[in-house]
């Protein structure tokens, strides 16, 4: 009997492991190819082992475009990601508290609107928003990408709301009896307790902003301002020079922050998705 379960478990593990490797094979291939000389990447596409193993792609790729190195692009991206994420998470938590704990006229109406914006395709507002921001003189600044984030993001509002609902309302009442006003209740009592939901929201915001292409593509036109995604896109446009190696190397570099965060924070990510049942 133990022999049979052992065999069963062995078969299970080997099947699932093979499937997992197949799923990740493209990423592994990208990583290993980034260490191959450009002219050998496709000649030796069937082999994962770079022969010879070189780092040149990284040094060449890092030189960037238009006189700006990849370091600049990474810095630009981090600025946008940080400003947009802080804004989106804080404002969403604030709004979520209002929806979850306040009784006010028209609450259901606004909640329905909020859920509606969750399903609203960005493409619908893309053109008029562009016109608005260009009239404001915001083109070629990061404002069109960052400022709207400070007005809450439906996915995060919903995520944090679901979490606040699990905090017993008696806690609010006790705090109010002890003389804590509504506006202190939120930062003092509720906000610290929602930390796990805030962490999940922060992580997702980081991903979406880091990978965002449409925003930078529309609003940032100078190489000095490029984000990592936009720089990679520009790299691709110059692909005729067939410097695949450098492009692969910078693609890998652009994924490093995402992967590091993923492995550090996968608990929050997995739980966030499973509990909210949502992912835009």
């Amino acid at each position: 009997m133990p022999g049979k379960t052992l065999r069963k478990s062995l078969i299970y593990h080997s099947c699932v492991a093979v499937f997992t490797v197949l799923m990740l094979y493209p990423v592994i291939w990208l990583l290993m190819s980034s260490f191959k000389p450009s002219n050998l990447i496709f000649v030796t596409a069937d082999s994962l082992v770079p022969e010879p193993w070189i780092w040149d792609n990284y040094t060449i790729g890092w030189q960037g475009i238009g006189g700006y190195t990849f370091g600049t692009f990474i810095q630009n991206t981090f600025v946008i990601v940080a400003l947009a994420t802080v804004g989106a998470v804080l404002s969403s938590a604030f709004i979520a508290f209002g929806f979850a704990r306040m009784q006010f006229f028209g609450r259901n109406f606004w909640f329905a609107i909020m859920m509606g914006t969750l399903m609203l395709p960005y493409e619908v507002v893309m053109v008029p928003q562009y016109i608005l921001f260009s009239k404001l003189g915001w083109v070629n600044t990061i404002l069109p990408i960052v400022v709207p984030a400070w007005f809450g993001q439906a996915f995060f509002i919903f995520l944090i709301m679901q979490f606040i609902r699990t905090i017993p309302a008696e806690l609010d009442e006790a705090a109010i009896i002890d003389g804590c006003g509504r506006f202190r209740l939120f930062p003092r009592i509720i906000l610290p307790l929602t930390a796990p939901a805030l962490a999940t929201a922060t992580i997702f915001s980081f991903y979406w902003r880091w990978e965002d292409l449409l925003g930078p593509l529309l609003y940032l036109n100078r190489p000095k301002q490029y984000t990592v995604s936009l720089a990679l896109k520009m790299f691709l446009d110059n692909e005729t020079i067939s410097n695949w190696g450098a492009m692969f190397a910078m693609s890998v570099a652009s994924l490093v922050p995402v992967l590091v965060l993923f492995f550090l924070a996968q608990k929050y990510i997995v739980e966030g998705i499973s509990t909210s049942g949502l992912k835009a």
Binding site: T20, W29, P128
Partner: protein, 299 residues
């Protein structure tokens, strides 16, 4: 007493005010503006000129590219969404076991969903499917003819569909959470009554999971309708070959920001909004025939 109630209402609005302001400024007013713009000829530089229904007439009756992009998008949605959900459910069921190390598989299989929307992965995908790419090597190894993925519109679209299916991880996690909520006793009772695995799947798993499936179906359909980055990167912004990967949002982007046809782009945006809203309503409407809510009873 009345003053206190008023204060309560005001406090509520104070908390949701960022959303209300943001909604008005960045969503509602732009949407209304885009409806007006859809009846104009506007290139951003000279003032808009009222042209009535001309933009819609042009799109519907004169623009072959428009219908092409509609067809391409519908094909994409019709294949990518169901395939992704079926994969997600199958793998979720395989991983829904109490075995050591299963968490590692779950995490690693979810990984493509995290990075899948990035430019880096689109570049990677583009190169996997190159003429000498690893996919063609695999096809040759298995005894098939290599496919010219960038030379054939259908093949190129399938390249995008496969990229979407590859990212089934987030739906899989949601399904896994749903599967864990189904009491084991249901399956035990069904087994005792002689129900086989297939019967248990169709009579227990599927009905109890149907609310989650409905929700996923709606969200994934919407996100498939507005897929942009893969099509934009993989075909270098063109939507080729022969417009075979000219997804709706790519064509909308080109209308607006390559040709500066803001009027037509706005018209396309409004058509998209109406179609997505109708489709969502339709999915909700059909849900009472196939979605099972435990509290109401009856299957």
């Amino acid at each position: 007493m009345k003053a206190r109630q008023l204060r309560n209402h005001l406090a509520g609005y104070a908390f949701i005010s960022p959303f209300v302001i943001g909604f008005l400024a960045f969503t509602l007013i732009p949407i209304c503006a885009s409806l007006v713009l859809s009846f104009t000829d506007y290139d951003l530089f000279s003032p808009p000129r009222w042209v009535g229904l001309d933009n819609f007439r042009k799109l519907f009756f004169q623009d072959n590219k428009y219908w092409k992009s509609v067809r391409v998008t519908l094909t994409y949605v019709l294949f990518a969404v169901p395939l992704r959900l079926v994969f997600a459910l199958l793998v979720a069921m395989v991983l829904n076991v109490q075995v050591r190390g299963v968490g590692v598989y779950r995490t690693l299989i979810y990984l493509p969903s995290i990075i899948g929307g990035s430019v880096a992965v689109a570049i990677m995908w583009r190169n996997l499917f190159g003429d000498q790419g690893i996919i063609n090597l695999g096809l040759i190894f298995l005894g098939f003819d290599p496919v010219r993925w960038f030379g054939n519109p259908t093949a190129a679209l399938w390249m995008l569909i496969l990229l979407a299916v590859w990212q089934f991880g987030s739906s899989m996690l949601i399904f896994l959470a749903g599967l864990k909520n189904i009491p084991v006793t249901y399956y035990e009772a069904a087994s005792v009554d002689g129900a086989g695995p297939l019967r248990r799947f169709f009579r227990i798993t599927l009905p109890l999971l149907s609310p989650v499936i409905l929700f996923n179906l709606i969200m994934q359909t919407i996100s498939a309708f507005i897929t942009f980055i893969p099509a934009y990167i993989i075909t270098k912004g063109e939507g080729g070959p022969l417009d075979g990967t000219l997804l709706y949002s790519l064509y909308l982007f080109r209308q607006g920001f390559v040709y500066y046809h803001m009027g037509e782009a706005s018209a396309m945006a409004w058509i998209l909004l109406v179609v997505v809203a109708l489709l969502t309503a339709l999915l909700f409407a059909t849900s009472r025939f196939w979605v099972y809510y435990e509290s109401k009873g009856g299957a």
